[in-house]
């Protein structure tokens, strides 16, 4: 979940990166508890990385002259700094801390919100979603990121 504070011209593009990260963990890893602070930290880290890259391009930078790299981003920050010292992190303070990495649910399967059986957890052959394996991990994500103290350090 991403909370909206302002809507710059590319804010929603960053939002889509954020949701793509969470969607991958949902489907590709079967870790469905994405409404947690640590998951949002990872998602905001990639959203912020994307925003930095985008605004390094003169065309997009010119379109968004009020862009501030620190807004809507966890990129370059540790989990604790992002959560406690940034406005962005504080937006998520009411969410649970971590998801349970041991609970893997219907890995490789996806379903829309309209699939009632699937949303209830599935029952026998009902609500099993669609098999979409192999799920491409094009952002280089790993479950260890969901508990990492500093994503920048763990990636370097």
């Amino acid at each position: 979940m991403l909370t909206r504070r302002d809507l710059g011209p590319y804010f929603l593009a960053g939002t889509l990166v954020h949701e793509s990260v969470e969607s991958y963990f949902d489907i590709g890893e079967g870790i469905r508890g994405m409404g947690t602070r640590h998951a949002d930290y990872v998602a905001q880290w990639f959203a912020g990385k994307f925003a930095r890259e985008l605004h390094a391009l003169r065309y997009y930078d010119a379109q968004d002259p009020f862009y501030a790299p620190s807004e809507n981003s966890a990129y370059g920050l540790s989990y604790s700094v992002w959560l406690n010292d940034t406005e962005d992190g504080r937006l998520y303070e009411n969410s649970p801390e971590n998801c349970d990495l041991h609970v893997v649910d219907r890995k490789g399967r996806a379903w829309p919100p309209s699939d009632w059986w699937a949303e209830q957890g599935g029952y026998w052959f009902l609500g099993q979603g669609t098999d979409v394996t192999p799920v491409p991990n094009t952002l280089g994500l790993s479950t260890a990121m969901l508990v990492a103290d500093d994503l920048g350090a763990s990636l370097s």
Binding site: T15, Y59, Y60, P112, P113
Partner: protein
């Protein structure tokens, strides 16, 4: 009604008491005479009716065009992309990506903003896969950076397998959320649901 109208004729005619009864020749003359102002009035009324019809139809036609025509900003975006191709090494281009040389903040200096970076095959694939212009615009922006391209590759693969309903737009203004995904990994973005 027009032919039943009383036509006054000269009382000095030879018809005596019958003068009230219109004689063919006289009444014909008079009829032509008396109809002229009505004909003009009829034409004026006809013109007014045509004008009224035009005034009624034009706004409807304009509204229909506005609703069916593609978004101007979207057309501008893609026409900018079409015009951004720039051979490397020419005076007007940088060596790092073919973008014309210009100020980074064209809006501040009053000079034209730099053109968008190239977006060819992946943009075509985006347009083929996702038909919602809002989704296309976001994915085109994503396609410009390495991190964004990673997300685009994932989103295009998922939509190949699950359909373009993998990304939908919902009215989530009340919650203040810009985006959500359900446990099944489908993505909903803030906006007016279509």
């Amino acid at each position: 009604m027009w032919n039943l109208r009383h036509v006054s004729v000269s009382t000095t005619t030879d018809y005596g008491n019958d003068t009230r009864r219109p004689a063919p020749a006289v009444s014909a003359t008079h009829a032509a005479h008396t109809r002229r102002p009505h004909t003009v009035l009829r034409k004026v009324l006809l013109l007014l009716a045509l004008l009224l019809a035009l005034l009624t139809v034009l706004p409807i036609a304009c509204a229909a065009y506005t609703l069916t025509a593609p978004s101007v900003s979207f057309l501008h975006r893609f026409s900018a992309m079409g015009s951004q191709q720039c051979p490397r090494g020419t005076d007007d281009c940088t060596d790092d990506g073919g973008a014309p040389i210009g100020p980074s903040h064209g809006v501040d200096t009053g000079l034209p903003a730099p053109a968008a970076p190239p977006c060819e095959e992946i943009c075509e694939r985006i347009q083929r896969t996702y038909h919602d212009e809002r989704t296309q615009a976001l994915l085109v922006a994503l396609a410009q950076t390495p991190t964004g391209q990673g997300a685009v590759a994932y989103l295009l693969t998922m939509s190949d397998r699950l359909g373009e309903g993998f990304i939908t737009w919902q009215d989530m203004g009340k919650d203040g959320n810009a985006g959500e995904n359900n446990a099944g990994g489908y993505i909903q973005l803030m906006g007016t649901s279509s």
